[in-house]
Amino acid sequence: MSPLMELEEAYEASRLDDGFREEMDRILRDYVGRPTPLTRAQRLEGALGGMRIHLKREDLNHTGAHKINNTVGQALLAKRMGKSRVIAETGAGQHGVATATVAALLDLECVIYMGEEDMARQALNVARMRLLGARVIPVGTGSRTLKDAINEAMRDWVTHCRTTHYILGSVLGAHPYPRMVRDFQAVIGREARAQYLAAEGALPDLLVACVGGGSNSLGLFTAFLDDAAVRMVGVEAAGEGIASGRHAARFPGGSPGILHGTFTYILQDTVGNIAATHSVSAGLDYPAVGPEHAYLREQGRIRYETATDAEALEGFQLLAKLEGILPALESAHAVGWLARAWSTLAQGSRVLINLSGRGDKDVDQVAARLGYVP
C-alpha cells in the first residue's frame, strides 16, 4: 500500500504543477508527434454504406500506438519520485516498447515482463525493446500471457519499490492507476473532439474503440462523456466466440471479482480462480476490464459489444485494402465490429473510430492466418 500512496501523492502534486504539464506537453509534441491526425475514411464509407467515418490516428504516434501517451507521463512521475528504475508488463509489446522508449529518453533503467506466448507472437516488439536498451524477462507461469506478466511485474515492484516505479500500461490495477492512466490518455479525446468539431462542425454520433484493459477507449471517450448525444461502443475480444469459452469478453462472459487490486468484471471459474483467456490479439488477451468501464456500463453511458478473431482479421484487411492503413489487431476489433454492425446504425451516422495502434507487429501473424506463403 505504501508505494501506491507515494504514487498517489506524487500524481496529485503533478496535476497542480505547471512545470510538469509543460514538460509533458513538450515531449508529446516534439517527440511523440502530437497532435495525431483525424483521418476521414472515405473508401471504408463506400464499402459499408450510409456512414461518415473518421479515424483518430493514434497509430501515427512515435512507437506506433497510444501507449506512449501514458508512459511519458508515468516516466516523468518516476523521475520526480526519485526512482532510477522503471518496470512494465506488456501483452502485444506496444506498452513495453513505449516504456523502453521513454526510459531511454529519460535515462531510466528498464525491465519489461512479457509472457512467453506473447513473446512468440510479437517477436518484432521483443527485438525493439532490446534494441532500446530494456531487459525483457520471459514469464513462463500460468497462461504465459499479459495477466502473468502483470503478476510478475507486481512481484518485482513490491520487492524493489524503494528504487522502482511500475509503469502499468492500462486503466487497471489498484488506485491511483486506473484514474492516472485515464488522465494521461485523455489527450486522445480532447484532441479528437476539437478536431472533429473543426472538420465537421458537429460532434460525432458514435465513438468506437477496442477494450482490453481499456486505456485507448477511455482515452477517447472521457472527453465526450458530458456530450449526451454522443453514443459510445467499446469492443471486447470474442476470440473464437463466447460459446467456445475461448475469448476475452469480460462483460458477456465474466462476473464481478478482484484481480490485481481491482474490483471489476473478470473472467473466472466457479470457485474464484482466474480463467484462461484467448484472443488473436495479445493486447486484448486479459481476464479483467478496467473498473471505470464496469462503472460506465452500469450507468448505461457506454455500450459494450464484441468482435471475434475472424471479424478482427476482416477489419484488418478492410482498412489495409481500402485505406492503405495496417491497423493493430487490437484496433481491428473496432473496425471489425463496425463492419458487422453498420447495417443496424441509422443512415448518415457520423462514426469516429479510435485507431489505437499500427499493425506492423501483427503482419507475420496475419499473413500466416491468411495463408500467405513467403
Binding site: 500500500m1 507461469t141 513490491v158 480462480n273
Partner: protein, 266 residues
C-alpha cells in the same frame, strides 16, 4: 472462539516463540495435508497456516506458486480447504489460520465463507490482497462469526498505517520480513528487529514474522524480538522435492525440526 490467543500464551509461558508452519492445502494431496498438520503439531507447531491455492498468487514466490498450481491441478478449492480444515479439527486442537487471496472468498460470498469456516473450526483468516483500508466489512463479518482477521504490515508501512493495522488485526500483526514475496532468503534484513519493536509499541499487539524465514538462525533471531514466526517456503520446498513419495512425512518433520531454535531465548 479463536484458539489463537491461547496458543501464543502457551508458547510465551514456555519461554518460546510461537511456531507457525505453513502448508498449501492439497499439495501433494488433501490426505497428506491432514496427516502433515497432525505431525507438525506433534513436532512443536503452535499454529498452522493453511494456504488456499489460487491461480494468481501475487504475494507468493516461485516455490509457493508451484505448490498452488499442483494443488489446483488436484482439484483443491476454497470449499475443499474448508473440508480439509474440518478433518484436521476433528482430531486436532491446533489453531488454524487460513492464508488466502480475496477473489475465492468474494466468489463464495464473505458471509457464507465466514459461516462455513467457523463450522470447519478455522480460527483466523489472512487475506493477502485485502488491505486494512478496504477490509472493514470483511473484518466485522469474521468477527461476528468468532474468527480473527489477521492483517499484514510491510517494511514500508508508515506509523499511521501500522496503527490502523493494529486496530483491525486479531491477536497479532503479521509482519512481512522484507519487501517482496514469499520464499527463502539468506539473511534477515537488519531492520526487522527495529520494525517489529516499533509495531509492538504502536499497536500493543503481538507480532509474527513471515516471508523468507528459511534457516534455524532466522528463527532464533526472530525469537529474540517477536512473539511468532512463520515457516512456509522452506517446508513447501520439501513437499515439492518429495511429492507423493512415502518419505514425505518423515522428511517434512525432519526439516521442520531442523529449523527450530536450539535454545529458547525468551
Amino acid at each position: 472462539m479463536s484458539r489463537i490467543p491461547e496458543a501464543f500464551e502457551v508458547a510465551k509461558a514456555a519461554g518460546k516463540v510461537a511456531l507457525i508452519p505453513y502448508l498449501t492445502a492439497g499439495d501433494p494431496s488433501a490426505d497428506r495435508t491432514v496427516e502433515l498438520a497432525g505431525l507438525l503439531q506433534d513436532s512443536g507447531a503452535d499454529l498452522l497456516e493453511l494456504g488456499v491455492p489460487f491461480s494468481d498468487p501475487l504475494a507468493d514466490g516461485a516455490i509457493n506458486q508451484r505448490s498452488a498450481t499442483r494443488a489446483l491441478a488436484k482439484g483443491m478449492s476454497l470449499s475443499g480447504v474448508l473440508q480439509l480444515a474440518l478433518r484436521i479439527r476433528r482430531s486436532r486442537s491446533i489453531p488454524l489460520l487460513l492464508f488466502t487471496y480475496f477473489n475465492p472468498v468474494h466468489r463464495m460470498g464473505v458471509a457464507e465463507f465466514a459461516a462455513r469456516a467457523r463450522d470447519a473450526g478455522v480460527d483466523g483468516v489472512l487475506v493477502t490482497d485485502l488491505p486494512v483500508e478496504e477490509g472493514e466489512d470483511y473484518r466485522q463479518i469474521l468477527d461476528a462469526a468468532g474468527m480473527e482477521a489477521i492483517f499484514l504490515a510491510a517494511p514500508t508501512s508508515g506509523a499511521a498505517r501500522i496503527r490502523s493495522i493494529g486496530k483491525a488485526t486479531g491477536t497479532f500483526v503479521y509482519y512481512v520480513s522484507r519487501t517482496g514475496v514469499t520464499g527463502e532468503q539468506e539473511l534477515l534484513p537488519e531492520e526487522a528487529r527495529d520494525r517489529v519493536l516499533e509495531i509492538q509499541r504502536l499497536t500493543g499487539k503481538k507480532v509474527a514474522v513471515g516471508f523468507g524465514i528459511s534457516r534455524r538462525e532466522h528463527v532464533e533471531e526472530v525469537a529474540g524480538f517477536a512473539e511468532g514466526v512463520v515457516i512456509g517456503s522452506a517446508l513447501m520446498k520439501v513437499v515439492e522435492e518429495t511429492g507423493e513419495g512415502d518419505s514425505l512425512p518423515e522428511r517434512l518433520v525432519k526439516r521442520f525440526r531442523e529449523l527450530l531454535p536450539r535454545e529458547r531465548p525468551r
